[in-house]
Symmetry: D2
Amino acid sequence: MKSIAITLAVSALLAGTIVAKAQAPSWVPPAENERCPSKWGAGDERGAGNHMKPQTVLNAVKLIKTGEVIELAHVLGPGMPFFGTRRFDMHLKRTFMNTGANERGSNEEMVLSEIGQVGTQFDGFAHQSHRNSHYNCFKTEEITGRGGFTKLGIQNTGAFITRGVLIDVAGFKGVEMLGDNYEITVEDIEGALKKQNTSLQQGDAIMINTGWGRLYGKDNARFVKSCPGIGVKAATWLVAKDPILLGADNWPVEVAPNPDTQISLPVHQIALVVNGVHLLENLKLDELAAKQAYEFAFIMQPLKIQGGTGSTVSPIAVR
Amino acid sequence: MKSIAITLAVSALLAGTIVAKAQAPSWVPPAENERCPSKWGAGDERGAGNHMKPQTVLNAVKLIKTGEVIELAHVLGPGMPFFGTRRFDMHLKRTFMNTGANERGSNEEMVLSEIGQVGTQFDGFAHQSHRNSHYNCFKTEEITGRGGFTKLGIQNTGAFITRGVLIDVAGFKGVEMLGDNYEITVEDIEGALKKQNTSLQQGDAIMINTGWGRLYGKDNARFVKSCPGIGVKAATWLVAKDPILLGADNWPVEVAPNPDTQISLPVHQIALVVNGVHLLENLKLDELAAKQAYEFAFIMQPLKIQGGTGSTVSPIAVR
Amino acid sequence: MKSIAITLAVSALLAGTIVAKAQAPSWVPPAENERCPSKWGAGDERGAGNHMKPQTVLNAVKLIKTGEVIELAHVLGPGMPFFGTRRFDMHLKRTFMNTGANERGSNEEMVLSEIGQVGTQFDGFAHQSHRNSHYNCFKTEEITGRGGFTKLGIQNTGAFITRGVLIDVAGFKGVEMLGDNYEITVEDIEGALKKQNTSLQQGDAIMINTGWGRLYGKDNARFVKSCPGIGVKAATWLVAKDPILLGADNWPVEVAPNPDTQISLPVHQIALVVNGVHLLENLKLDELAAKQAYEFAFIMQPLKIQGGTGSTVSPIAVR
Amino acid sequence: MKSIAITLAVSALLAGTIVAKAQAPSWVPPAENERCPSKWGAGDERGAGNHMKPQTVLNAVKLIKTGEVIELAHVLGPGMPFFGTRRFDMHLKRTFMNTGANERGSNEEMVLSEIGQVGTQFDGFAHQSHRNSHYNCFKTEEITGRGGFTKLGIQNTGAFITRGVLIDVAGFKGVEMLGDNYEITVEDIEGALKKQNTSLQQGDAIMINTGWGRLYGKDNARFVKSCPGIGVKAATWLVAKDPILLGADNWPVEVAPNPDTQISLPVHQIALVVNGVHLLENLKLDELAAKQAYEFAFIMQPLKIQGGTGSTVSPIAVR
């Protein structure tokens, strides 16, 4: 790994220069000995997913009063926004007419997609690293093969049934949509929770409504160029509540680009690498917000992709 | 469509010849005027999915007593069996090291797959037809575009939360696995239900344990070569119970090849084309059967693939 | 094909309306009985490719004097322009370390692409039709299967070694690049040929330099938005010279959009459907033009894609 | 790279054990200081491709007497044999009917394939390594990105026009096909050349007819299970003749598995890694052999895949 070593050395030098000239970055990941083993134990691959227990299910189910199902996923199709070079292409394999007196025609489709990382989408721990070090200090080169990850794969998570909480920050601020790169503050979250009369509990699936989802499929260029969301401070505050996951109606859960231009999507590392908390992106939260459904049973079934970094999902809120 | 017209004319001639020489096929789909409009109304695209109502959810949730979650999906990976030329290929897009003082590495994967029709998998109504006529007499050429179906797409179904019932036919027959192309009879189903003390209700997700799932990932060649399952009679009997879907631990739900060699997978047409009842294939039912969990809350979230013929899924049983 | 029949009827009505209000389209394809069978005989699939004979090769080889090879293909990579939704994605399948004392590492890549229709690219006769009728009146629905065309596939063409001629229209007009949707006239071609002192011969591979190729990989948005090129008149004039193919340094060989807004890329039909003359797109002609190499041995080897509509190629000029 | 370091240490230990018990492997790659820089100079990426010069072209063209073209490539389609998990899938994107009075229909296809490494196929130097060291000691981790190799990519080679020589070993041995894992000896090659009255020259494209190509598309399982071909000794002898490439009608050019079970496809390293000589696999040589065409102009145009490890090709012999 000589090339990376050189890169790091050079960037350390550059960082030194920057420090001399300007400010240090507002956040960098803690050293491995400060974050490993994780609180879930050495070798653990599930992180906050360990919150999923029978009692968690029972507590969630108690929130179901009317049987109303609210979908939290966008449709997967040609109108989707994409991050970078990702895509979702579907090629129809049109009618194969089977032999037989019953004249049975059969259709299917070939899909080409980063199916773990497009659309409404759930992030696993193989997705992100600090240098080459993932959640619980698994090393990239020790857990990768040609066909996927041998540790931390998304097939390990199982289904989620837990209490879901919507924090409607856009609603709290009295706007349809937060500004293009507005960083949500701890005060915003506390204010929204107070206004909603909602408290957070261990193991919650926490979803933040920024209103940014209004652009999804309508102004995709703007949707992916930047977005409002939580930053280092709010993420740190939320992670301290010990949730099972953090979600939002924007593409990276967090504010992007980060107001501190020296760092790149730090909440991805705070959640996935340092604390083992999953992320859930590109949620469709407009219906929840409109109905002021702040507390509900949250249900999600990731595809069991062996060695996958994540999964496109179709989660629901039930109440 | 001259070529198909010719094909049909020829096959009609051949059928005529066969009738003269031998027996008529044991089943062919009814004429369009006998099956359309469907009982759910002209233009309906959801079929038995219309059973999904708030009360259905509440009834299902009542079955959750302990919070135990039992997974019904196999892992998606290189060890899977495939029908025909289908596949699931995953290509790791290994670490992209982002710029930034937080040294964030990012991994993802490109998946190439008939993601609607591989693994544990849910069939929609665009998947099958009688000649060119689908559920509710939608015509293939009127509802297909380059990128998928414009009607009957799987994005319409929404999530399923309903009462699930396991019919353990292998258990009833006292075998680990039914024979390689054993056709399950109505008597088998009635006997198993009686033994289990289970009754069927409108809107149930009905799953049949043949034991064939034991071969999944272990002897894939045998798994896909044939399988035990329901035939025309048992399917007709089950469909009359008005279920939301029919599932099994084999690859086509039904017996294959059909004992009547003149017809090809007729249960696909009975369920999907004629009656608008969904199919759920390649289920992992061993745990349910071992635990004698015959009644449970069934939860499934198909991917919202626009115009898709089906969806790979990760359903669960909760009790 | 009811839906298409309706579409045609409606468009005929609309056309009628347009005629009443405005002008008829400047060109529509001739009726089938005027163009079929082709001059190469009923059932012929090779069209102008029939010009390839041993004597054609010998004539071309005589033009090789210095052994200089000039490449006419652009590199296939992330900087390419694309028409519509086409793409060229390459996913590295990084080192598989084989067992063995010789410690052999192996790399390969998965490519996802309309490999017949991206980059420097050669069009076959399955690519285009008038309604459902291709070259020599092969019908789309009679020659298509799930996996490609059963007639007119690109695997039939074989390699091309013939006299190549560059017609440098940009050079004749004294510009680096023709205007964004300039239609090259017959006079332009005659003028350029006279200036170059070049005459056309039966079986030539004719390539037109518009200068538009300067934008390839540099301003891809502009490159594909429109382009200068030949229109109906110049194409008709060129096709009458009986060439083996027509090529250019733009994306459709012809001017786009056509100045007659009622018709869409008519030269595609004039060449591929009506006359069986191949097209060669996205050529890199800058070096030829700079060296004033107007006559040379043209060599091209399409991939032998069974049932393919075309092939990405790497043709060369040798002199 | 700790995991690989461990692997190597362990394999060194195992090798030690094997030496104590049995024989040393018959060949391992030379140390880097014995093979780098290559004879073409430090930093060179073209290897034997440097033989391509104008005089090479002129010499080849002199061999063209009749203009006869003999194709050396198999068709790319569903009947192809594949090595390992490689594939060639084509999905027809059926008719898009463009708007316009000229009613222009357009078809294309999506291809999913290791297009550099399937069918009749040309190997570049990024394809193979000794540990992490390629031709001219380029290191894998220093020349790989997500989207391909930054050095040694196949786009660098350009077209090949050179003298081609067929060595018909099957013909020399008087058999239609050599045995399933017959290792061709130096004596076989010398004998065949003498019988043919052919001599080798610097820069030749050398192709060996084993007869194994008869199985291509007919008994694919046997075709890829093993094959006759050259081994370490014959490869060393041939490489000393300084050819531009070595090809054969089998899948790896060389005998497989190697008779020395301790080593894996050593000729790949001898040619590609140590000597910078290209390999050309899965050639169709039956017509050349039947016509006793032992000397000819060899022409090949690899696709210009940026950073690719190789290219599927359609080479020809012209005489």
